[in-house]
């Protein structure tokens, strides 16, 4: 009887583990999930053993990355393999061709193939919707699933082919090396957008990871987990309430929701980037900095140098500069800037709200560029710094409203609500009922504004600390994730009725 029960329990456990390892659209593999860390325990020793041999390491990591992608996007991992093969073959064709015309044609063929796949999966329904609006048509939306991370790896593949065309890099000798670059699991689903000229030499060098790399990577992962799985996921619950039903909330509550979303999107995105960069660092690869305290920026140009750096530098190098950059006069500079931001907006999602968000950033950048000669003449003191920072922060935060809200009408309602219905006297009551949320926001703001040198120093202390300290910090952070995972924010707190 006892034996039968044990074997049944074991069978259940095995079946559940097997189920967990299969593709589930509802449960993509995230770096903050228990399953990822379970797999990482198996990945790490094998990786450490194979690291000496570049080929074995590449084959193993490619295999793991493809499984990682399968777990998140099912059979689309085959499309990733196909895309990489086509790019790799075309890049070799470009390298072999001597004349500029055919080289250009092959480069464009590769770019168009990549963009067509992205366009089909991400923008086909957006196009159909607009077409229906314009011609009163009734094309039914296509039943499409967006492969996870397609926007990121498409941009990586485009930059690779363009760089080969421009002879900045040589195509990889082995297709596996290119597949390694394109499918590298730390950066596969949410970036950073790794550039071939930066990353491919690292595969070739196959440098061993130092103690600083390994524990520095763990430190970044811990920071990322705190930002993403603790702060962003918790404060998001309140922000979602405001954005889902803005008409129900007062101006003060709405303002808190907007500020909350401003910090949430930063924590969410930069937290995931930190985890990706940390994982890569553990493996001995550098992905570069992706967020550099963007809300410290004192103007919009600076903001885009600090926010999602891998995307903004990609847009600069592969859209803005090819459009002419600032080489074709003032008006063209503004137009090029505007178009680049428009594309940047559309990259974030297939909806007009993203286009508008991008366009308004384009307008803001143009205004800043136009005013720069005049602004440069103003003496740089703390008051000027503060006013510049405040204008930039308010502008960026208000544009996040358009980015997050369901539609344009909701965005306008939210902004109107803040400007018309704001009453500071409600804050003590708000603080009383949403103390955890307020404390988290406060901690986050403090964390964001402390000098980078302090954060770096903390990282160094962590790297040098004894094993037991690292272990306890890791356990404490994971326990915090578990504590907050089940902490729900109620829609409203009522004092009376």
């Amino acid at each position: 009887m006892m034996l039968a029960e044990i074997s049944e329990t074991l069978l259940t456990v095995v079946r559940n583990i097997a189920d967990m390892l299969l593709y589930d659209a509802e449960a993509p593999m995230l770096f903050s999930s228990g399953l990822f860390w379970l797999l990482f325990i198996f990945f790490l020793p094998v990786y450490a053993l194979l690291k000496k041999s570049k080929t074995k390491m590449v084959v193993f990591v490619v295999g793991f990355s493809l499984y990682f992608y399968y777990k998140s996007s099912g059979l689309f991992f085959l499309m990733l393999i196909g895309t990489s093969l086509v790019d790799w073959l075309l890049s070799h064709a470009i390298a072999k061709l001597e004349r500029r015309g055919p080289r250009l044609a092959v480069m464009w063929l590769s770019v168009l193939v990549s963009l067509s796949i992205l366009g089909y999966f991400k923008y086909a329904n957006f196009f159909l919707w607009n077409w229906n609006q314009m011609v009163q048509g009734n094309f039914q939306p296509l039943d499409l699933i967006l492969p996870v991370g397609i926007s990121f790896y498409t941009f990586q593949s485009i930059s690779y082919v363009v760089d080969v065309y421009k002879k900045r890099i040589a195509p990889t000798e082995s297709w596996l090396d290119y597949l390694f670059f394109l499918s590298f699991f730390p950066a596969l689903v949410a970036g950073p957008i790794v550039r071939a000229d930066y990353f491919l030499p690292q595969i070739e060098e196959n440098r061993r990871a130092t103690k600083e790399n390994i524990y520095g990577g763990l430190w970044l992962i811990i920071i990322g987990i705190v930002k993403k799985a603790i702060i962003a996921d918790y404060i998001a619950q309140y922000n979602d309430l405001i954005f889902n039903d803005p008409s129900l909330y007062t101006g003060m509550q709405t303002l808190m929701g907007v500020l909350g979303y401003t910090m949430q999107i930063y924590c969410d995105f930069s937290g995931y980037s930190d985890m990706a960069i940390g994982l890569a660092l553990i493996m001995g690869f550098h992905l570069g900095l992706n967020f550099d305290s963007p809300y410290q920026s004192r103007n919009l140009t600076e903001f885009w140098r600090r926010w999602h750096i891998s995307l903004s530098s990609w847009l600069r190098d592969y859209v803005y500069i090819p459009l002419g950059g600032n080489r074709k006069g003032t008006v063209r500079t503004y137009v090029n800037n505007f178009l680049t931001m428009l594309i940047g907006g559309l990259w974030h999602g297939a909806a007009w709200k993203f286009v508008f968000w991008g366009a308004m950033h384009g307008v803001g950048l143009a205004i800043h560029k136009a005013c720069k000669p005049w602004l440069d003449r103003i003496p740089d003191n703390w008051l000027v710094s503060f006013v510049s920072w405040a204008i930039t922060f308010v502008y960026v935060s208000l544009l996040w409203v358009f980015f997050r809200a369901a539609d344009f009408e909701s965005s306008v309602l939210i902004i109107k609500n803040i400007f018309v219905g704001f009453d500071i006297n409600q804050f003590p009551q708000f603080f009383e009922v949403r103390m955890v949320w307020c404390i988290m926001m406060l901690a986050l703001i403090v964390m964001h504004f402390v000098p980078q040198s302090w954060t770096d120093a903390c990282g160094r202390v962590f790297v040098k600390s004894p094993w037991i300290v690292k272990f306890l910090v890791f356990v404490a952070v994971v326990q915090l994730v578990i504590e907050f995972m089940t902490e729900e924010v109620v829609p409203f707190i009522y004092f009376q009725f």
């Binding site: 559940n16 390994i214 763990l218 003060m252 356990v475 578990i482 995972m485």
Partner: protein, 259 residues
Amino acid sequence: MKSHYSGLWLIVAVSLIVFLVISFVDDISVGGWTIKKAPFSENLLAKEDSVGRNSDFCADSLAGKVIEAKTDSVPKSILIFGDSMTLNLALRLAQYAKQNGHTLHSVNWDSSNTKIWADCDTLRHFIRVFDVDYVFISLGSNELYFKNPESRLPYIKKVLEMIDTIPYVWIGPPNWQKDSGINDLLERTCRSGSFFRTDGMELARKKDHIHPTRAASALWVDSIMRWMPKSAHPILADSPSDSIGRANANVTFLKALNK
């Protein structure tokens, strides 16, 4: 394995073992604070779902499970209470009440959820004041996307305890996206034949894309009333005649903070 990798591996592996063990042992409390557990044990030991997860419209799917009870022909004092979905439901329900000789009282508490109703004696108050002998509950919409819907179980049970032996129908939330499990939880917790599963119904929505329009809510009530004979405690639910006109839903609005 390289020594630094061994150190890292140990950190991750030992942590995982610690959390795995904790998830299988009894609750650990430190100075009144109970350590929350990672859901390893639930995930690893979960049996195949014995509850049907049919997300299609439920009236027929429930039919097989519920023994048809005899319709109670005595006019009822009905209370419908819940979140912001309640008002539009009540407006149509009032016409059914008028048609069938029932009395309807409605309590609409915008954005409320099971916890809010469980934590106060508002429900007991209205049940007593209106001498209620039939209840419709419209709660769950504000808990559709909670990461841990199981955490709502104590509140759902508390609400049902307040209703006590009074026959009830819990009207499931009208999902606008797939929920995180509140519908399954409600279906499991409510008495057999007392949960009307709304998810899967296609309802026209207001501009907020969340609340069904008044017309859609009326159709929603019609569906509930068609299902009524299959419920645990059917009451008279003849369709309102075309000439019924407007009926008073006796709505009490509970106001939110600062509004």
